[in-house]
């Protein structure tokens, strides 16, 4: 998997980590890693449960996870491109937490719980106490992460992705509690509520999401046809909206699947 070495070389300093996962044992894996001069991290999942949980049904398959632990993309590795990666890198930590100084452990713990105010204030307090510039830099990095989350929520709203913006603002109102950025998040949530089109678009987006989740279970053309009908119907009166653009992409996926089935 030469492409993973290349991805790591290109993006590791920008906040990307690579992890190859196999259900094989070490006896087969280690010679393979050596032979292919793989430099990225790898781990074992003998039961294959992680791949199943990420929706993968065959080898190779891949997933892209955002810095706050959300699934950004899943599919065949050939479909993973720079645009997807660079989007996922927004707000990513340039230095992985395992390279942070040991006294930053409570910061890592707050970060893992998505308690950003606590993470920042703890980093600042520790920096002040120890006069360690690295801890201050960690505080800055988490602040940058928070700002990027707010920008991402605003971007979703501006693009008309009301479901995405609503989901983000709901989560961020809790996660950013105690930080000034929560005001901007509340403002976005209020704008969604005040937008007369938003509720119709959100409803359509939810239907499309449901259709998307049903794709793996559609094993025959007639099943896919039902999904195509549902997707078309969801955006019937919503031309020139984000939902309609999403529906077009979904329909392409459905048609491609349909062509492979009986």
């Amino acid at each position: 998997m030469k492409h993973l070495n290349e991805l790591e070389a290109k993006y590791a300093d920008k906040g990307l980590s690579i992890l190859a996962v196999t259900s094989e044992g070490a006896a087969k894996t280690e010679p393979w890693i050596a032979k292919h001069k793989a430099t990225y991290g790898y781990a074992y999942d003998r039961s294959g449960s992680l791949m199943r949980e990420l929706g993968g049904t065959g080898y190779p398959s891949a997933a892209l996870i955002t810095p706050d632990g959300m699934i950004a993309w899943t599919g065949h590795p050939s479909g993973l491109n720079d645009v997807l990666i660079e989007k996922a890198l927004e707000g990513a930590l340039k230095k992985p937490v395992w390279d942070w100084p040991s006294q930053a452990k409570p910061v890592v713990s707050a970060l893992a719980k998505k308690k950003y105010a606590k993470a920042i204030s703890t980093a600042r307090k520790l920096a002040l106490k120890s006069q360690d510039e690295e801890l201050d830099a960690i505080g800055n990095a988490i602040e940058a992460m928070v700002k990027s989350k707010v920008l991402a929520a605003r971007k979703k709203f501006n693009e008309g992705d009301f479901l995405g913006a609503k989901t983000m603002t709901k989560a961020l109102q809790k996660q950013l509690k105690g930080l000034p950025e929560v005001d901007e998040i509340k403002a976005i949530a209020a704008e969604i509520k005040a937008n007369p089109e938003a509720s119709k678009i959100i409803k359509a987006q939810k239907t499309l999401k449901k259709v998307r989740s049903e794709i793996p279970d559609a094993k025959r053309r007639k099943h896919v046809d039902v999904l195509i009908k549902k997707a078309k119907s969801a955006v019937k009166k919503l031309s020139d909206t984000f939902a309609n653009i999403s529906a077009e992409k979904l329909l392409q996926t459905l048609r491609a699947r349909r062509a492979k089935l009986k």
């Binding site: 906040g15 781990a43 992680l50 398959s61 955002t66 632990g69 959300m70 937490v97 995405g164």
Partner: protein
């Protein structure tokens, strides 16, 4: 016997095509073992980083 291997590769590719079923949901925190060539010891250690996970087999 080139044809069966081509067909097999196509089947694998088709099965692995993106379905996007999980996109937008929190990533699983499944316990993995034997982390190598990384200082991470669990998926949770990648907090704050974007992460590409690739599943591979040798056959």
């Amino acid at each position: 016997m080139k044809t069966p291997s081509i067909l097999f590769s196509f089947l694998i590719l088709a099965l692995a095509l993106p379905c996007g079923a999980q996109v937008g949901n929190p990533a699983p925190t499944t316990k993995l073992e034997g982390f190598t060539q990384t200082k991470a010891k669990a998926l949770g250690d990648y907090v704050g980083r974007a992460l590409v996970v690739e599943f591979f087999a040798f056959w």
